[in-house]
């Protein structure tokens, strides 16, 4: 954390979504680091060890599922909660998200109020 504020890493290849999520989380009192793809997200996560990660599933270079698996396998990041944010909302997709170790799942189009509520809930469980 910096300045006592939790740090959240946001990864999404869509600039608009990244901006919307980052702005809302910053406004809600969090420090935000953003990444444009899965590889960059993993690198930044390893460097900063955020308090939570909000990850898009459909990203180039490393998708959200594979990134979550890698995070869970990494000693320093294993306990970082992950919220997956995605347009894929079939039951199998949701199940797969939890199977790889995600803590929560939010469908696109998303409600920013709901995102903040889920972030607070997940961080509150730590």
């Amino acid at each position: 954390m910096s300045d006592g504020k939790p740090t959240i890493l946001v990864a999404d290849d869509e600039e608009d979504v990244r901006e919307l999520v980052s702005y809302r989380l910053t406004r809600s009192g969090y420090d935000v680091i953003d990444a444009v793809d899965g590889e960059e997200a993993f690198r930044l996560a390893a460097e900063h060890v955020p308090d939570l990660m909000v990850l898009d599933v459909m990203m180039p270079r490393l998708d959200g599922y594979e990134l979550t698996k890698r995070v869970r396998a990494e000693e320093s990041l294993r306990s970082v909660p992950v919220i997956l944010l995605t347009a894929r909302s079939q039951e199998t997709d949701v199940g797969r998200g939890f199977e790889v170790g995600a803590d929560d799942y939010l469908k696109k189009p998303f409600n920013p109020d709901e995102l903040v509520a889920r972030v607070r809930a997940v961080l509150g469980r730590r």
Binding site: D16, L20, P109, N111, P112, D113
Partner: protein, 317 residues
């Protein structure tokens, strides 16, 4: 000629750069509008267009009160009324299609009626944009129009399925009347969509479809029951494995496999050994889905290639 192309490219690049700079400058205003409902300051015409484009893009990613603020903004600005006018009356099809598409991004509920009318547009792109936008609006009142557009092939069935899935359960009451329509394609479409959107409470009405005069409807009813059916529907599905139309027998067999009906193993195994190829294969796979070991034993006992294959796929052999 090359000079003209180079100049044009440079001009477009400058325009794009200017557009991005303007958007970057407006992002703060857009975010304050979205997240705090702050009214934008007075803007010039070009800035208002850029802000509208930006908000339209953001609207695609959002739902809830934040999205509602975008709708309110566009309604106050008169954008919704203007786009409806363009969609209904522009001479060029591409303008009507662009307006239909934008209305889906903005997402005002008030646009549903105009978009339903646009499903009758002579231009296919307009109809597709309208169908997509009705799905984005999640407008239950569009259900009948969307279903009719799929049946008449004014819209691709896959787009209509997507749109109705976006609308979800609120579409169901409006799909039910389709079950008794005179048009068999519409009945079949209604059955299929109820199978996707509905649950066990719709299964009884879907089961009636197994006795429809149209084989298309009977097959869709069997498939739908595979998803939403239960124990009460099993006798009717077993009877459907005797239907004179192979496609219906195949769909009924698949449904019995999905519902894991042990009591149908015997009749499915008989069909697996002696029916037409697709039906026999479906029956064998249903047996393997219900009881993989039973499938393997019956494969050995009967020599049925379909049962061997199904048991193999189930990982027993």
């Amino acid at each position: 000629m090359l000079g003209v192309l180079i100049l044009r490219r440079a001009h477009l690049a400058r325009q794009e750069r200017r557009r991005r700079e303007m958007e970057d400058a407006l992002k703060g205003i857009a975010m304050e509008l979205l997240h705090a409902g702050a009214e934008p300051p007075p803007l010039g015409e070009e800035e208002r267009r850029a802000l509208a484009d930006l908000l339209g893009r953001y609207a695609r990613a959002l739902r809830g009160p934040t999205h509602d603020r975008i709708v309110d903004y566009f309604e106050r600005e008169g954008t919704v009324a203007k786009e409806l006018e363009v969609m209904a009356g522009a001479r060029a099809g591409w303008r009507r299609a662009a307006a239909a598409f934008r209305l889906g991004d903005i997402g005002p509920a008030s646009a549903a009626g105009g978009l339903c009318a646009a499903l009758e547009d002579p231009d296919r792109d307009v109809r597709i944009a309208a169908g997509r936008s009705l799905g984005r609006l999640r407008a239950p009142e569009a259900t009948a129009s969307l279903l009719s557009a799929a049946v008449d092939r004014r819209l691709p069935p896959a787009l209509v399925r997507w749109a109705l899935l976006q609308i979800g359960a609120p579409a169901l009451p409006r799909l039910l009347p389709g079950l008794t329509d005179d048009n068999e394609r519409l009945r079949a479409g209604a059955v299929q969509l109820i199978g996707l959107l509905g649950g066990p409470s719709e299964a009884a009405q879907i089961e009636d479809g197994l006795r429809d005069t149209s084989a298309m409807v009977r097959a869709q009813a069997a498939r739908a029951l595979g998803r939403i059916g239960g124990e009460r529907n099993l006798p009717a599905l077993r009877t459907a494995t005797w239907d004179r139309i192979p496609e219906v027998r195949e769909a009924a067999a698949e449904a019995l496999g999905q519902l894991r009906d042990r009591d149908s193993i015997e009749l499915l195994a008989i069909r697996a050994a002696g029916d037409q190829f697709e039906v026999a294969r479906a029956c064998a796979r249903a047996v393997a889905a219900i009881d993989p070991e039973e499938a393997a034993q019956r494969a050995t006992a009967t020599g049925s290639v379909h049962l061997f294959e199904a048991a193999d796929l189930a990982g027993i052999l």
